[in-house]
Symmetry: C2
Subunit: 163 residues, 2 copies
């Protein structure tokens, strides 16, 4: 696993007719490579993981806390069972589950002060790591890449339902 993605060996179609597929595989393998590196580093540096980091990040920007359903909707990283993640983070003192007094939304999850410190330390490292991973791409190419990704994202968002 350790950051080695077998990628397109054999998977890459040879004809130019498969250009879109090739583009997707390149995007996907690049994203997977970065995810694995970040996951490994979060584990080594903080005993954490990307799903945990993502969950804490969502809570960090929700000072009033989030209901479990809101939390699930906002998570970017899949693969972690939200209930289980919250339980484990609560056991470590990073989050608490409280019944919201003023409204009837039911229990909300929020960061503890210790959880916030833990998240902020990870967020700083996370940003440094990404800077390092992207470091080999000249600034001009980064901007072009960001622009083209925006176009692709727009294309994906506006495309009709597939099946």
């Amino acid at each position: 696993m350790e950051g080695s993605v077998p990628e397109a060996v054999g998977r890459r179609p040879r004809s130019d007719a498969h250009e879109a597929l090739r583009l997707w595989l390149r995007l996907f393998t690049t994203a997977t490579l970065v995810e694995r590196q970040l996951g490994t580093a979060l584990k080594r540096g903080f005993g954490s993981s990307l799903p945990r980091f993502d969950l804490l990040a969502q809570l960090d920007r929700a000072p009033d806390g989030l209901r479990m359903t809101e939390l699930s909707e906002r998570l970017l990283v899949t693969g972690g069972n939200v209930t289980w993640l919250v339980r484990s983070l609560a056991a470590e003192g990073h989050v608490v589950r409280e019944r919201a007094a003023q409204d009837r939304r039911g229990a909300v999850v929020r960061l503890t002060p210790a959880g916030r410190r833990h998240f902020r330390a990870m967020a700083r490292a996370h940003e440094r790591w990404i800077e390092r991973l992207v470091g080999g791409v000249p600034p001009r190419d980064r901007r072009a890449l960001a622009r083209h990704l925006a176009t692709l994202k727009q294309s994906v968002t506006t495309s009709e339902e597939l099946a």
Copy 2:
């Protein structure tokens, strides 16, 4: 879940100093969007999933079959437990586990003829779907995107260990 990724709302840092982080989040959310769309379509169209599709794709290009360890190493999509996936695909008649006679590598997994037909039908749909998702990106931008992604991938691959 259905193809809606909340992305960078609030997650996007405001200063330009966070350019690398922004780039990564854009890449990641785009990949996640595509993955969700493909996953939903595989489910609707074939009662399948991306991890299953990925597993069958690896076997499709390994006519002699693969050991479980080889299979795990080659999978691009995480999130599916390989043993469990193989068991479920075997129960449906798409793969078989056989002891390899000539060598001592232990049991290998291979596609059945029905599994191969099933995979090929999915692969054709999968390619059409990707063509559709990428359809809004002009060919010239696709090529530029592919080029810049190659640069980024190279940067990620050659960066030193993070932590």
